[in-house]
Structures are given as structure tokens and as C-alpha cells.
């Protein structure tokens, strides 16, 4: 009797989460393709996400730090210098957009100038200007308004918002951030399209199976469910593996010298490390939708 193996099969059919899964062929190139497409695109998406987050962070830092510091230089005869500096500090206190203002000490000034003037220059003896470091709030200072007020109250003050230095840096940083988001968008789009096409191709390869099932009395919902479950699972697994490998690679990239502070390392920070977990979810959602649509489209052509 060959019954035993047959019975085992029947039992296998009953076990797990329902019979429907077994009616979908488990392997084949289109299955591999779905897995790989989901995996590879998830891997790239993690990279793109890391890139855009890192550059976003960089852009924030540059814009913030550069945009939010300014300098007020007060040149005046020695006897008026202190008075004007005090007036300027008072004026800044009542200016909207100023987060803090601080007189730069003589020592700091000396340190800044040493590379140019050498350590031996007697700065104290010179009529050098007073410098006030201004930190702006996120809203920023109305530079023209401030200059007008300064012209009246502190005639010796020159306000420098570092625009000359800032503009290209901020532009560059924003550009990097934009490119990062663009890549992420592109790659997510390609991932979606790829999964959709792979699911459609796999479903087309299974058109016969669907037809056979429909002709022996399977309901649409049963057939669609079997395929949707299988393909969503494939996309989810593929994308999860890809995203995990991507995250691992990002984590293993030698971290940049953050002390240099100029460009942070590629990577996520804090809760950002959870972001890659979103990618398999997106992949699974796309696969769910794509398979459902393709399955129902195939079924619509059958009576």
C-alpha cells in the first residue's frame, strides 16, 4: 500500500495556516526574483535612507550653526569702545531673533588672530575692535532692521551675518539633503515597481494554476488569498533580509571622525536605526496590493 505517504501529504495539507498555501507552487525563478528584487531594493533603500538622513543631519548642522551665528564688530575710539559695546549688547537683548549675544574676550580674539599676526603682537595695546558673537533663534534676525537700529544707536558697529560664507555651504548642504531624499524616493519607487512587476510575472507564470483552481470550483477570494499571502510573505522576507543586511553594512562602515564635525558618518542615530524596519513593511504592502490586483485581474479574465 502506498497510502502512508499520501496520508502524510494530506496531513501536511491540513497543517500550518490552511490548505490554500499549498496550491501555490513554492519555487521557481519568479519566486526567486520576487525575493531578490525585494531584498536588493530594500538593501539599496536602507543605504539611500542612511544617506538622506546623514546629509539631512549635516545640512541641519550647517544651516543651523552657520546661519545662526553672526558677529557684531565695533570700531570706536578706545574711550567710547566699552560704552558702545554695552549699548550694542543692550540693543541686541531687545532684538527679536537673537537667542544670545556674548562679548568675545581678548584672549579668544588673540587666539583667532594668531595664525595671521603671530603670537607676539601686543593686541591689548592696539585699538582693535570689540567683537560680539550673536546666536540667532530659528526665526532669524531681520538683518536690515538691525543695521538701521545700530546705525542710530551704535555708530561704530558693523553687523556681519556671515552670509558670504554661509550661502554656498547652506546651499551645498540642502542640495545634499535633497539628493538624499531624491535617491530614497527613486529607490523606493523602483522597489515598488520591481516588486509589482515581479509579482505580476510570478502570477503570469501561475496563470494555469489559477485557471485550474477556478475551474474546479475555487472561489476568487480563496485563490487570491493563497497568492497574496504567499507573495506578501516573499516580499516581506526578501525585504527584511535586504534591509537587515543594509543596516548591518551601514553600521559596519568605518565611522567618520565626528570630532572633525564637518561631515558626520553615514548612518542612523538613536531611533533612526528603527527606520530600516519600515522598508520591509512598505515592501510587503506593495506586494500585497500588487499581487491582489494582479490576481483579481487574472481572475476577471476567467469566468
Amino acid at each position: 500500500m502506498r497510502l502512508p505517504r499520501f496520508l502524510t501529504n494530506i496531513t501536511g495539507l491540513l497543517a500550518g495556516d490552511g490548505h490554500a498555501d499549498r496550491v501555490v507552487p513554492p519555487t521557481g525563478f519568479t519566486a526567486q526574483l520576487t525575493l531578490f528584487a525585494a531584498g536588493a531594493m530594500a538593501f539599496l533603500a536602507v543605504f539611500a535612507a542612511a544617506l538622506s538622513i546623514s546629509t539631512g543631519r549635516l545640512a541641519d548642522r550647517w544651516s543651523d550653526e552657520l546661519a545662526r551665528t553672526a558677529t557684531l564688530r565695533i570700531s570706536a575710539p578706545a574711550e567710547q569702545l566699552e560704552a558702545q559695546a554695552a549699548a550694542a549688547l543692550r540693543l541686541l537683548e531687545t532684538t527679536t531673533g537673537v537667542a544670545s549675544a556674548r562679548r568675545i574676550t581678548a584672549q579668544e580674539q588673540q587666539d583667532l588672530l594668531t595664525p595671521w599676526l603671530g603670537p607676539n603682537l601686543p593686541l591689548d595695546a592696539l585699538p582693535i575692535p570689540a567683537l560680539i558673537e550673536v546666536t540667532q533663534t530659528r526665526e532669524g534676525i531681520d538683518a536690515d532692521g538691525l543695521r538701521a537700529r545700530l546705525a542710530g544707536e551704535v555708530p561704530g558697529a558693523v553687523y556681519d551675518d556671515h552670509a558670504r560664507w554661509r550661502a554656498p555651504l547652506v546651499r551645498a548642504a540642502q542640495r545634499l539633503r535633497g539628493l538624499g531624499w531624491l535617491s530614497l524616493l527613486l529607490i523606493t519607487g523602483v522597489m515598488g515597481a520591481m516588486i509589482t512587476l515581479a509579482a505580476s510575472a510570478a502570477l503570469a507564470a501561475n496563470a494555469r494554476v489559477i485557471e485550474t483552481l477556478r475551474l474546479i470550483g475555487a472561489r476568487d477570494a480563496y485563490i487570491a488569498r493563497a497568492f497574496v499571502r504567499r507573495f506578501t510573505e516573499r516580499a516581506l522576507i526578501g525585504a527584511a533580509i535586504g534591509a537587515a543586511l543594509g543596516t548591518l553594512s551601514v553600521a559596519l562602515l568605518p565611522s567618520a571622525d565626528t570630532a572633525g564635525g564637518f561631515l558626520t558618518g553615514l548612518g542612523f542615530s538613536g531611533a533612526g536605526w528603527l527606520l530600516p524596519a519600515l522598508i520591509p513593511v512598505i515592501a510587503a504592502a506593495v506586494a500585497f496590493w500588487a499581487t491582489r490586483t494582479a490576481a483579481l485581474r487574472t481572475l476577471r479574465n476567467l469566468s
Binding site: 499520501f6 494530506i10 496531513t11 495539507l13 496550491v23 507552487p25 485550474t212 470550483g217 476567467l302 469566468s303
Partner: protein, 248 residues
């Protein structure tokens, strides 16, 4: 009355067996065309429960097309088709699926799920209709033995010979004990002895009150059946369905 053809000779034929109730499949002036000219024109027929019909006609006449209408793979281009007393035009897709569970079909090109063993393929109609094949394993095995596939229960369908495929298809068609069995050339690839066994299976079912329609070119098969049941022969030719009786 088992048959209700429009053909004049039809009225002469009465069922050999008492048949009551409504027709399981009823065609009323049904026509069908694949897009070109009409392939089937103005066909009327009532298939009564417990009747046994053969369907003949030249190759390309429309036998397969006729059967596809009966199990709702195709919809009439005109006329009224009722399956289990329900007009097919008013059926939802789930109605169609449920209707098919009451009709066993042997397709001319037997399609299986190539990744499942033969036994599971034969049990598939149970599976997709939510019934538990394990509970009926003994019956299924008996059926598999009857069609001579006991040694092939756990191989995959691509490893079957042509005749073995037909037998597996027949087994799958009858595994649910359906009210109607439509068999399209079920013995084209099997030897005479095996075709008698398969015929026996269908005759057994017919005796249980099931409706049987067999499309075939094999006149010997028809003669053998007529010796055992009150089988009638329908013939499709020139787009029409006729009852061909006396000439066999």
C-alpha cells in the same frame, strides 16, 4: 422527459428510467460564437437528473464549446442557460464557483497542479471547497485504485503517461460525487479494457442518480454503454444539436 431538443426526432425519445424534478442544466435557444461566425446556433436542451448522454460530432464541431457552456466557462452569446435552475446571467462569481462544485469535469487537456502529487491533485476539489480530504482518504484511495493509479498516487503529474493523466482527471472529476459529470474525450488515450473500467465508474454514478455527459468519438464506447444504461446520443453538426439514436 429527459430531453427537450428542438430537433423533431427528439420527441420520440423518452427516458428509460423515471426522471422527475427540474433539469440540472437547461439550454433555451442558446447560441455561441467565439467572435467569428456562430459556432452553436439556437440550441435547446434539458439535462434531467439521472440521465446519461453521449455527445458526438466531427472534430471542431463544438463539443468542447458546448461542455464549456454547461460548466459556465463560457457564457452564451444569446439565449437562456440555466444551471441548477439558476440563470447563469444572474449568477455572481461565487455562485459560479459553488455551481462548479456540483459539476465534475474531465477537460480535454487535463490540467493539474504540477507541484502537487497526483493524489493531492485528485483530492483538490475537496480542498478548495473547504472539505477535509483526510476524512475521506479511504474513499479517495479506493477511487485511485479503481482508475489504476495506485502506483502513481505520490508522483507528480508531469510523470504520468497520457492515459494516466486522463484517468487522474476523471478521478478528480468524480471525487466530490458531483450531481453532474461532464467528460470531454475521457478515453481518447486509454486502452479498451481501461476505457470499460472508466465507463463502469460513470455508469455506477449514473445509477446513483447522477447526470452524465460524455463527449467522445469512440463509437465502440457508446455501443458498450448502450448495452448497460439508457444512454442517448447527442450529435453536434452544422451548428445544431441533434438527437442521434437509431443510427447507432
Amino acid at each position: 422527459m429527459a430531453c427537450d431538443c428542438t430537433a423533431p426526432q427528439c420527441q420520440a425519445h423518452k427516458g428509460g428510467k423515471t426522471q422527475t424534478g427540474q433539469a440540472v442544466i437547461e439550454l433555451e435557444n442558446v447560441s455561441y460564437s467565439y467572435g467569428g461566425g456562430e459556432l452553436l446556433s439556437d440550441i435547446s436542451l434539458r439535462l434531467m437528473p439521472g440521465s446519461f448522454h453521449f455527445l458526438t460530432g466531427p472534430s471542431g464541431a463544438g463539443k468542447t464549446t458546448f461542455l464549456k457552456l454547461c460548466y459556465m466557462e463560457l457564457m452564451p452569446t444569446s439565449g437562456q442557460l440555466r444551471v441548477f435552475e439558476k440563470p447563469v446571467g444572474k449568477m455572481t462569481r461565487d455562485d459560479v464557483a459553488n455551481g462548479r462544485r456540483r459539476i465534475g469535469v474531465v477537460h480535454q487537456d487535463c490540467q493539474f497542479l504540477n507541484h502537487l502529487p497526483v493524489a493531492e491533485n485528485i483530492a483538490l476539489p475537496l480542498t478548495v471547497s473547504g472539505r477535509d480530504p483526510a476524512g475521506e482518504a479511504a474513499n479517495i484511495m479506493e477511487l485511485i485504485q479503481w482508475v489504476g493509479l495506485a502506483n502513481h498516487a505520490d508522483v507528480l503529474p508531469p510523470q504520468l503517461s497520457g492515459g494516466e493523466r486522463q484517468r487522474a482527471a476523471l478521478a478528480r472529476a468524480v471525487v466530490m460525487s458531483p450531481e453532474v459529470v461532464l467528460a470531454d474525450e475521457p478515453t481518447g488515450n486509454v486502452d479498451w479494457d481501461m476505457s470499460q473500467r472508466l465507463l463502469q465508474l460513470l455508469i455506477e454514478l449514473n445509477k446513483m442518480g447522477k447526470t452524465i455527459v460524455i463527449a467522445t468519438h469512440d463509437l465502440n464506447l457508446i455501443r458498450a454503454a448502450k448495452a448497460q444504461v439508457a444512454a442517448r446520443v447527442l450529435r453536434i453538426a452544422n451548428r445544431r444539436l441533434q438527437l442521434a439514436g437509431a443510427d447507432l
